[in-house]
């Protein structure tokens, strides 16, 4: 399976690209040319220079350093969110899809309830209720989004549940854990991979949006969405301040989507490279 993945050039490139970005975030203190928090009002809106490769923002802070440090909240928080959402959605979807009957009914009604709320508004509501804190943002996302994934996973599980190899296992009595973990879970893995990567994209956008609105990561912590918020006032005078984080968000989200495509192909055992 990994061999196939490695043969798909797009997958490898995207993976490498995203890994580089992630590593940059981890090694931010070493890579960033300046302290992202150091303000120097006198030096605001500086142009490109060796010390400030992308110039400075309205408080004289180095934009590039803030971008690099900004990887941390943007990327890692999204990963955390995605793990929680997909994890919860997956477990509940698997249970609902395989066991049917009352288990399915209960879970799916919960899904219906959660899906009837408009997700973005709900996230705001939860954050407003629990207080403006990044942890609450993640919690809100997981609470709202799991339902959507649970439903998709349940559909996929139902598709595989009646395939002959699962019927064989049920007929001879291979045991539920075997069926769930060795048959169903790997079968839905490729669909899940696509969902997971799409979800990271969504989570990044969500966290950035909330930060942009002032509800997520608070100033002065560098985060791409928050940077966009600060940049909106000076859009015409110092466009770099807005373009940098904006472009970064677009590129990273796109990279995740392309990775998702490639992952789905790689996880399909019938995909043969001629």
């Amino acid at each position: 399976m990994w061999r196939r993945f490695l043969k798909n050039k797009m997958a490898v490139i995207m993976m490498a690209f995203l890994a580089t970005i992630a590593l940059a975030g981890v090694f931010a203190p070493i890579l960033a040319p300046n302290d992202p928090y150091a303000n120097n009002i006198l030096n605001k809106f500086a142009g490109f220079s060796l010390q400030y490769p992308l110039g400075t923002d309205q408080l004289g802070r180095c934009i590039l350093s803030r971008m690099i440090y900004g990887i941390r909240p943007t990327l890692f928080l999204s990963l955390l969110t995605m793990t929680g959402t997909i994890g919860l959605g997956c477990i509940l979807g698997l249970l609902a899809g395989y066991f049917r009957g009352p288990v399915e009914e209960i879970i799916m009604r919960a899904v219906d309830v959660m899906m009837s709320f408009p997700s973005q508004i709900m996230v705001f509501a939860v954050v407003a209720l629990l207080g403006v804190d990044v942890r609450n943002v993640i919690l809100a996302n997981v609470l709202i989004k799991w339902a959507w994934y649970a439903r998709m996973i349940r559909t996929n599980v139902m598709k595989y549940r009646d395939k002959n190899f699962v019927l064989f296992s049920r007929c001879v009595g291979s045991g539920e854990p075997f069926i769930l973990f060795r048959h169903l879970l790997p079968s839905i893995a490729s669909e899940m991979a696509v969902l997971a990567t799409l979800d990271i994209g969504w989570a990044i956008l969500n966290i950035s949006t909330l930060s942009f609105l002032g509800l997520g990561v608070q100033a002065p912590i560098p985060e791409w969405g928050a940077m966009l918020n600060e940049a909106k006032n000076v859009m015409t005078t110092n466009p770099v301040q807005m373009i940098a984080p904006g472009l970064a968000i677009v590129i990273v989200v796109a990279a995740f989507n392309l990775l998702g495509d490639a992952l789905r192909d790689a996880l399909d055992p019938k995909e043969v490279e001629v």
Binding site: N164, F165, L167, C171, V172, F178, R182, P186, P269
Partner: protein
């Protein structure tokens, strides 16, 4: 060995005429038959006759509305299954080794003894006419006949008393079908197994089975030994016998419009 008594199966209809209607579409009507140990019962019917549903009831995968499936000694017999669509009969991610391994795992669990997996797997492969070179292949790397043989090996791995074949050879080429049937005959004799063979092909039934049950529109219209097949009385069975296209004997321009030449 297995006795089916008055099996009724129905499914809830998709298109209900009333809002919370409970209309059901009945698929099997009062089906009863018995299979003794060592016999091979052919269940003969067309698509829509309910034969696959009957197969599922026998496996225990589907509970009938009415009726019961009884086993000798009142203990559920160990049953292996081989399905028709071999492309979905095997988890596409499992190698041949894992596929047979699943069957072995079930047997180990049931008989509470550990086995030398490698040895057993090789023995089973040999039994179905394959060899060790197939161990690490994935399902899509095998031909239909080969994959079906692996499925048979997998069914044998659970050490069953009964094997249910649900149109297991229908998707294979004509000569492969015969080869597999020959294999099944040998295995049955060697291991004293009981077979239930669901199919739509009458000549397969006469080739392999000792008994035949004609299933027509969900009803068991005729049950008899295959030796006495010329004595069928139900019109459906008669029609089926008349429809067999005979081969050879100057058939080039003759229209086969009667029962048997």
């Amino acid at each position: 060995m297995i006795k089916a008594e008055h099996i009724d199966v129905s499914f809830k209809k998709e298109n209900q005429t009333t809002l919370f209607g409970r209309e059901r579409h009945q698929v099997l009507f009062d089906v009863s038959f018995e299979v003794k140990k060592g016999q091979c019962l052919g269940i003969l019917g067309e698509s829509g006759s309910g034969k696959s549903t009957l197969g599922r009831v026998l496996c225990g995968l589907l509970k009938p509305d009415k009726g019961i499936v009884r086993f000798e000694g009142d203990k559920k017999a160990v049953m292996g299954v081989v399905f028709q669509d071999y492309s979905t009969s095997a988890n596409p991610r499992f190698t041949v080794k894992s596929l047979i391994g699943e069957g072995l795992m079930v047997m180990e669990k049931r008989e509470k003894k550990a086995l030398n997996r490698m040895e057993e797997t090789n023995r089973l492969l040999k039994l179905v006419g394959l060899d060790e070179s197939y161990l690490h292949r994935l399902p899509h790397e095998l031909s239909g006949g080969q994959l079906q043989r692996v499925c048979i090996a997998r069914a044998l791995a659970v050490n069953p008393e009964v094997i249910l074949f649900d149109e297991a050879i229908s998707s294979l080429d004509a000569h492969t079908q015969v080869q597999i049937m020959d294999l099944l005959k040998v295995i049955q004799k060697e291991k004293g197994l009981t077979y239930i063979f669901i199919t739509h092909d009458l000549t397969s039934v006469t080739y392999l089975c000792s008994h035949v049950l004609f299933l027509y529109k969900g009803k068991a219209v005729e049950v008899r030994e295959t030796d006495t097949i010329s004595e069928v009385s139900h019109p459906y069975a008669e029609k089926l016998l008349g429809a067999i296209l005979n081969v050879g004997d100057g058939n080039e321009t003759k229209v086969p419009d009667q029962a048997v030449s």
